[in-house]
């Protein structure tokens, strides 16, 4: 008599990748959206983005007059 196969958990279906835009695999290790971890990894990127908002006074006085 064949042994009873254990029923696969419902979540396992999501491990299958069906096409590029279909169901994506879930990272069960994290299984969450971790913004704190993302902030840590992106520290330099985020700092660079916001850095350009700071405008020193010499930038404001930069003059443009170019003829050719």
């Amino acid at each position: 008599m064949p042994s009873k196969r254990k029923k696969a958990p419902v979540e396992s279906a999501t491990h299958k990748k069906v096409g590029h835009q279909g169901q994506a695999r879930i990272d069960h290790k994290h299984h969450t959206v971790d913004f704190e971890a993302a902030k840590e990894v992106l520290r330099d990127v985020l700092r660079a983005e916001v850095e350009s908002e700071t405008v020193p006074s010499d930038v404001l006085s930069f003059r443009m007059k170019c003829a050719r």
Partner: protein, 505 residues
């Protein structure tokens, strides 16, 4: 002295021969640096590429911008400057006086149809100012279209122009260009003027003439001494001129290439032209810079992520070049984006290599100094903060969904909420989701959008309220663009909750 009489006007029909556009301009007396001016040669070359066959010349045309310059400056000169211009209209089909008369005869039966048909052959116009050496006034010509040999051209800031010629109404899409005259306007004035031709028009604001811009810029700040003749503008004066027009000047300092590229990509995709302050590599220390106006983007392929710790790609890496109105050159000139290392600075800086498309001119390398964008006043959310949140969302999603790791692409843009609603109605979002977004959600006039795309299709849009100054909590909705499994939807829902928004799918 005879009393002033009313002027006559004629239409003259010229067969366009490439290399001979300068015949339509009057060569001034005296020794000039160059004749024809580079701008005339550039325009000659450009309309030849568009396939121009005929030029119809209006011999008497009153141009609003020139009249304003005349009344402020040239009307007080010893020389008797005329108060009118000529205007050249470019067509890609052969039109002579007989053909024109047949068109007018046909218009007596159906004027709209004739105008529409002729608009299909209309390439644009160029005003010829009676200013010695600086003849090119307001010029609106078509773009080269979306297909380039090495990518796609996007000209989101261009707008429709209606042109009246002999009673017929013609239409063309483009963005106004003109040559600096060095009396009323320098390069910065014309760059701002071009930018406002798009942004002020979108916001239904009055379009200032170059004379208005120079005066507004110098009203409170006379950084270069006298206002006229124009000694150029400083960044602060550009900001003042933009503020005076009813828009908000957003100033972004050029810092590093990845950031500058992201800023340009976002604004140009959103339809906002950007005034670029640049430093020609050939200029010496302390010399004045130059201003150009970015009006389009050349988009190539999104580059792979080079940082192994990051789980997404930045869509702005596909920005290869910007199309600029450079008043020393002409409309829609290509400026390749690159990076250049400068002494004393750790990070490479953004440089632009402006292609001079005539064989006898060189390419010119300029370094990006800063970016000024005229924005609607209620768009308060800075581009850098929109992009900062975009990075976070893409990284968090890419980590939580390993199958998408490295395949998610993040792009940002501003969009009118009404345009986004039209877009989403035609998407894969469910009928209930569409109703929830379009009929049950209040959105700001402009929204900031973080677009997360999968390899083949849109995946997620994060919509931000642009009337807020900070990105969090300003997320009004998270839109799941493509149906996903329950588990993936659960992750996206968690993301949406973390952002304090509603999930629509």
């Amino acid at each position: 002295m005879p009393a002033a009489d009313y002027p006559a006007k004629t239409f003259q029909f010229h067969r366009f021969v490439s290399g001979h556009l300068a015949d339509r301009y009057e060569r001034p007396k005296g020794e000039l640096h160059q004749w024809p001016p580079i701008q005339v040669s550039y325009l000659d070359n450009y309309i030849a590429v568009l396939g121009c066959k005929t030029i119809i010349e209006e011999t008497h045309y009153v141009d609003r911008d020139y009249i304003a310059d005349l009344s402020l400056f040239y009307g007080k000169s010893l020389r008797n400057y005329p108060n009118f211009c000529r205007r050249l209209h470019f067509f890609d089909e052969a039109i002579d006086i007989r053909r024109w008369r047949r068109l007018v005869a046909a218009a007596r039966k159906d004027i709209d149809k004739v105008g529409q048909n002729l608009s299909g052959h209309y390439l644009g116009f160029s005003v010829v100012r009676p200013l010695p050496g600086h003849p090119i006034g307001r010029t609106v010509v078509k773009t080269l279209g979306p297909k380039a040999t090495d990518g796609e051209r996007i000209f989101a800031p261009i707008r429709p122009y209606v042109v009246h010629l002999g009673g017929l109404r013609l239409h063309t899409d483009g963005l106004a260009f003109q040559q600096q005259d060095q009396g009323v306007s320098a390069c910065a004035t014309t760059a701002v003027w071009t930018a406002l031709h798009s942004s002020a028009h979108t916001e239904s604001l009055k379009l200032p003439a170059p004379a208005d811009i120079t005066q507004a810029a110098s009203r409170y700040l006379m950084m270069n001494g006298r206002t006229l003749p124009s000694e150029g503008l400083a960044i602060q004066q550009i900001c003042e001129a933009i503020r005076d027009s009813g828009l908000a000047p957003v100033l972004v300092r050029a810092t590093r290439t990845a950031v500058d590229r992201g800023v340009l990509d976002t604004y140009l995709r959103s339809g906002f032209p950007a005034v670029l302050a640049v430093i020609p590599e050939s200029s010496g220390p302390g010399e004045a810079g130059h201003a150009i106006c970015a009006v389009g983007a050349k988009i190539g392929t999104v580059q792979p992520q080079t940082n192994p710790a990051l789980a997404y790609r930045d869509g702005s890496t596909a920005l290869k070049a910007v199309y600029v109105h450079d008043d020393r050159l002409g409309p829609y000139a290509v400026a390749r984006l690159g990076a250049i290392t400068t002494p004393g600075e750790q990070e490479p800086r953004t440089n632009l290599v402006i292609k001079w498309p005539l064989a006898n001119f060189d390419e010119e390398s300029v370094r990006l100094h800063s970016i000024v964008v005229p924005m609607p006043v209620k768009v308060r959310l800075p581009v850098t903060r929109l992009r900062a949140l975009g990075h976070l969302v893409a990284q968090a999603l890419g980590t939580a969904l390993p199958d998408f790791k490295g395949a998610l692409t993040m792009t940002c843009r501003y969009l009118l909420a009404t345009d986004y609603a039209r877009r989403i109605i035609q998407s894969d979002v469910s009928a209930a989701g569409i109703e929830r977004l379009t009929s049950k959600s209040a959105l700001s006039r402009y929204i900031g959008i973080i677009e997360i795309a999968g390899p083949d299709a849109p995946f997620l849009d994060v919509l931000l309220d642009c009337t807020e100054a900070v990105e969090n909590p300003s997320v009004v909705a998270t839109i799941l663009r493509t149906p996903q499994s329950t588990a993936v939807t659960s992750i996206v829902n968690k993301l949406s909750i973390s952002l304090g928004s509603q999930l629509i799918m």
